[in-house]
C-alpha cells in the first residue's frame, strides 16, 4: 500500500541490483588503473593485490595532464561566468518586454537555435574561427557561451517571468536605473536558476569533445577529452596507463558531483522542467 510507511523490499532489491550495471564499468576503471599487465593477465576482475600508483604518475607525464587540466578548468570557469552574465542579461530584457515585437522576435530567434544540430555549422565555424584568430582557448570560451544561449535564454525567461514586477517598480520609484535594478535586485534573485544554468554549462563544457577537436590545433591548448583522444591513438596497448589517464580526467567532475550531488540533481530537474 502506498500510504503505509513500510519499505517496499522487492523494489528496493531491484533498484539495488540495477546499480550493478552503473557501478561495474566504474569498478573496472578503478581496478584496471591500479593494476599492472601481469596482474591483469592473472585476473581481469579481482581487486588489485598490490596498487600500482605509478600508472598515474606515468600517465601524468605522458599526457601532460596538468596543462590539459588547467586548460579545461580555465575554459569551463570562463564559460560559466560569461554565460551567467550575458545570458541572464539578455533574458531579463526579453522577459520584461515580451509585449514588444523586437524582444519577442529575439526570443524566438534565440530559442529556435535549439533545433540546429551542431554539425550544420561545424564546417564554416572552423573557417570563421581561424579567420578571426580564435582557434584557441578564447575562441572555445566564446563558442561554448553562444551554443548554450538558446537553452539558457529559454530557462531564464521562464524564471524571470515568475518574479513579480512590483519589486522593480519600487526600485525605479527610488531612483534606480534599469542597470542598477538588474544588478542589485534581479541578478541576486535569479541565484537558484543561475545555479542550474551554471551547473549544466559546467558539465557540458568540461566534457565537450567535438568543439575542442575542431577548434584547437595547438597541443599546448588541448583540453582533457582531447588529450584522451590523442593519447588513445598513440598508446592504445597499455591499458593500465590509459585507464589511469581516463580516471584522472573523470575525477574532477566526480568530486564536484559528490560534493554538490543534491544541487546538481535538483538543478537539472528545475532547468529542464521549466
Amino acid at each position: 500500500m502506498r500510504t503505509s510507511r513500510h519499505t517496499n523490499w522487492p523494489v528496493l532489491l531491484l533498484v539495488a541490483l540495477g546499480t550493478i550495471f552503473i557501478l561495474f564499468p566504474l569498478y573496472m576503471t578503478v581496478t584496471i588503473a591500479l593494476k599492472n599487465p601481469e596482474q591483469m593477465a592473472y585476473s581481469a576482475f579481482a581487486f588489485p593485490t598490490e596498487l600500482h600508483w605509478e600508472n598515474f604518475s606515468r600517465a601524468v607525464d605522458m599526457t601532460n595532464f596538468f596543462s590539459a587540466f588547467q586548460n579545461s578548468v580555465m575554459v569551463t570557469t570562463s564559460t560559466v561566468v560569461l554565460t551567467l552574465l550575458t545570458n541572464s542579461m539578455v533574458a531579463y530584457a526579453i522577459a520584461r518586454n515580451m509585449q514588444r515585437r523586437f524582444f519577442k522576435g529575439l526570443y524566438f530567434y534565440f530559442v529556435s537555435a535549439m533545433f540546429i544540430p551542431f554539425p550544420i555549422i561545424m564546417l564554416p565555424i572552423v573557417k570563421l574561427a581561424s579567420g578571426l584568430h580564435m582557434t584557441n582557448l578564447f575562441g572555445l570560451i566564446m563558442l561554448h557561451t553562444v551554443y548554450g544561449l538558446a537553452f539558457n535564454v529559454f530557462v531564464y525567461v521562464g524564471y524571470i517571468r515568475s518574479i513579480p514586477v512590483a519589486l522593480e517598480e519600487a526600485a525605479t520609484v527610488d531612483g534606480a536605473t534599469t542597470w542598477g535594478t538588474f544588478w542589485r535586485i534581479i541578478f541576486p534573485l535569479m541565484a537558484p536558476i543561475s545555479a542550474t544554468v551554471g551547473i549544466l554549462t559546467c558539465l557540458s563544457t568540461y566534457n565537450d569533445f567535438l568543439l575542442p577537436l575542431i577548434i584547437i590545433s595547438d597541443p599546448e591548448q588541448y583540453t582533457l577529452p582531447l588529450v584522451q583522444y590523442v593519447f588513445q591513438g598513440q598508446f592504445n596497448t597499455d591499458f593500465n596507463l590509459a585507464f589511469a589517464s581516463y580516471l584522472m580526467a573523470l575525477l574532477p567532475m566526480i568530486i564536484v558531483y559528490l560534493m554538490a550531488q543534491k544541487w546538481i540533481i535538483n538543478g537539472v530537474t528545475q532547468g529542464s522542467v521549466k
Partner: protein, 288 residues
Amino acid sequence: MNKRLTAFYWMTVPAVLLFFIFLTLPALQGFYYSLTNWNGFGHQYHFVGFKNYINLFQDDNVGNAYWFTFKFAIVVTIAINVLSLLIALGLNAKIRFRNFFRGIYFLPNILSVLIVGYIFNYLFSNVFTIWGRNLGITSLSTNILGSEQLAWVGVVIVAVWQGIAFNTILYLAGLQTIPTSLYEASNLDGAGKWREFWSITFPLIAPFFTINMVLAMKNSLMVFDQIVALTNGGPGRATQSISHLIYTGGFRGGEFAYQSANSVIYFIVIAMISILQLRFLQRREMDN
C-alpha cells in the same frame, strides 16, 4: 521611461552580436558553401548550384549513414524511455536510501561521453568476450564491435547506459508532481497496479514523456563522441553516423562543400522530426 527602454536594448547587444556572428552567420555560410564545389582549403571554387544535393541522393555512404543513424536513434530513444521510466518508478517507490540510489543512477550523466566510450570499448573487447567464452555464448565470445552486423548494438548499449541518467531524473520530477491523494482514491476503488499506471501515472507525466522523447531522439540523432570512441564508423562503414560522416568527409576527405549540403539536409531532417514529435505527442497529451 525611454531611458529604461534604451537600457533594455543595450542589454541584448552582447548576446545578439555573439549569436549572430557565431551561429547565424556560419549557418548561412554553410548553406552558401553547399552550392559550391569548394574542397575546404584551396583558394578557388565555383558555384555549382544544387549539384551537391543531387549527388547526395545517389551516394551510398550518405544513405548508409542516414540508415545507421535512424536505426540507432529509434532503438536508443525507445530503450532509454522504457528503462528510465522503470527506474524512476523504482526510485519513487517507498524504498530506503532513496537519495543515495538517485545519486548513483545519475552518475553516468556527469561523465565524459568520449571516455565512457573508451571504457566500454575495453569491456567489449576484453571483458564481455571472456564471459561469452565461459558461458559458451558464441555471439558474445568475439568482440561485437568488430562485427558488421552487431557493432551498432554496442554503440546502442553505451548510449543507453549513459542516456538513461538524465531522462530518469526528468521522469522522477514528473512523478513527484502527481498528488498522492489520486493513488489513495484508486486504492479505495480497488484498481490494480497495472491499471493505476495506465490510468493515473502515465497520463499525468505525459508532458515529461514528450520532453524525454524529443531530447533522447535529438541527442541520438547527433551521435558522434561514442562513434569516435567505440568504432570510428567501422567496421567498414557499418556504424558511421551522419555527424561522423560530415566531420570526416568535410575536414579530412576534401568534401567541404558536399558535406555542407549534407548538413543542410541533416538540419531540415532534425528540425522536421523535432516539430513532428512535439506536435504528435502534445496532441496525445491533450487527449488524455
